[in-house]
């Protein structure tokens, strides 16, 4: 029972901080003057969501959420590499 209350206390601290950080990343995605700024903010947002999903898996008690976190981490890497390839050569798949 005390484990549950400790997890609840940590969740009360952590979840609002991550929500505020995600809001600031979204503002940068909408404002970003160039494409690399948007890509940087979107990959930061993906890692942020990934941590939040792993924490919510403990908090809710559902183990299926962490599979989504693993896919999100790999998706952010694919986004980075493909946008870098496009910016460098101005075309994909070559």
């Amino acid at each position: 029972m005390e484990v549950h209350s400790l997890i609840n206390t940590i969740a009360m601290v952590v979840i609002p901080i991550y929500a505020v950080a995600a809001l600031l990343f979204v503002i940068r995605v909408l404002k970003g003057p160039t494409i690399p700024d948007m890509v940087l903010a979107i990959s930061c947002l993906s890692y942020d969501l990934c941590v939040l999903m792993c924490f919510l898996a403990i908090y809710i008690g559902s183990s299926l959420l962490v599979l989504g976190a693993l896919c999100l981490a790999l998706w952010a890497y694919i986004l980075d590499i493909s946008v870098a390839k496009y910016l460098e050569g101005r075309e994909l798949g070559e």
């Binding site: 484990v3 549950h4 400790l6 997890i7 940590i10 601290v13 952590v14 901080i17 991550y18 505020v20 950080a21 995600a22 600031l24 990343f25 503002i27 940068r28 160039t34 690399p36 700024d37 890509v39 940087l40 903010a41 990959s43 930061c44 890692y47 942020d48 990934c50 941590v51 792993c54 924490f55 898996a57 403990i58 008690g61 183990s63 962490v66 599979l67 976190a69 693993l70 981490a73 790999l74 952010a76 890497y77 986004l79 980075d80 590499i81 946008v83 870098a84 390839k85 496009y86 910016l87 460098e88």
Partner: protein, 132 residues
Amino acid sequence: MLVQDPYSVLKLAALIIGGVLTVVGALCDLIGAIGLLRFPNYFVRLHAATVATIGGAVYPLFGVAIMSLACDFLGVARWFISAISFLTAIIITLTAPTGSHAVARAAHKAGVPVHPKACDLLEEDRKRGVVK
């Protein structure tokens, strides 16, 4: 009381270490987000983004992996959550610097504007033809 039951001592230690890592990581993430919003140009924002990925995603994932080992109420699922959190942390450690490095190189090559600029030796070398 602490000496009598070593299992509960280990559980409490895992909870405290995991909780401290998670809270410190959340603060790092907030600092990185503020920096990403406030810094003047792309290459300075990259620094804040690195704080937000390594400090704000890898440390909390290790914290969650340690913390979920102590959660008895999850049953067998705690091993699952712990293993995948650990794996995700290692994947982010390897891929986030690689991806941001590739995007930074491509952005410099594509000519992203740098507003307060002191000197840019790579651009001068590229103009002179030393570097392709």
